[in-house]
Symmetry: C2
Subunit: 113 residues, 2 copies
DNA sequence: ATTTTATATCGCAAATATACGATAAAAAAG
DNA sequence: CTTTTTTATCGTATATTTGCGATATAAAAT
């Protein structure tokens, strides 16, 4: 793009977009699924479960961590990751904004097109 | 990327990622907000409400329409857009998958890191 | 002390996304 | 019929994302 207009939007719009971007890749959806159903969240297991190179998976984990959707701690030689449910649930709750706006104007029921 | 690995993931993971990608830009979040609180969803009004050129807004609208999150109909000279709440609510409901996976393994409560 | 194992990071190539001017298309106004 | 208005699409420049080999780092094993 010629100019990055991102910062001309509202802070909460940028924040929600950033969270959505973090899960906008099937690999990162798959990672979240793996973490959701496992107690042991060792990085190596995630790599094995995905059709991607170790470096690529490490990068995807970094992105999820950057927005706070996952937490990671180093356990000796390995790294342990897991979902940060507090952030995750906050993220989902934010979608309520749209329904709230619609309710205030009583628009959701009467679709105009 | 050298090779696009997207198609090596599960269909539902790709679908959820595509929906997330559609809302992964503040302009598209802003568009959804405008549509949620307005009865008249005329394209021109959306353009006026955003810090972007008309061509750019039209492109963002196209992306939202492509994943089904919004509907659009041509009304004479103008175009009318509105949120497709059926798809929108389905999208939000899909996040339940993660909580379900976590519940099955009783992992959500006992965070491992 | 050296080697192995597990992850993270760097650097780069290729793919996508973003932004917008120019232009097309089509209805409405004059 | 010509002009204006409204929106979509094309072409293109630039920015960002994706993917991975190579390499760094650091703990564990030998």
């Amino acid at each position: 793009m010629a100019i990055n207009r991102k910062l001309e939007f509202a802070t909460d719009e940028i924040a929600l977009a950033d969270l959505a971007k973090a899960i906008s890749h099937p690999a990162r959806i798959a990672i979240l699924k793996i973490l959701a159903q496992q107690q042991s969240c060792i990085c190596g297991e995630i790599v094995e479960g995905l059709p991607l190179a170790q470096a690529t998976v490490s990068q995807h984990l970094k992105e999820l961590k950057a927005v706070g959707l996952i937490k990671g701690t180093i356990e000796g030689k390995t790294s342990c990751y897991c979902i940060n449910w507090e952030i995750f649930n906050q993220f989902i709750a934010r979608f309520g904004v749209f329904a709230d706006l619609a309710k205030n104007e009583s628009c959701q029921s009467q679709s105009c097109c």
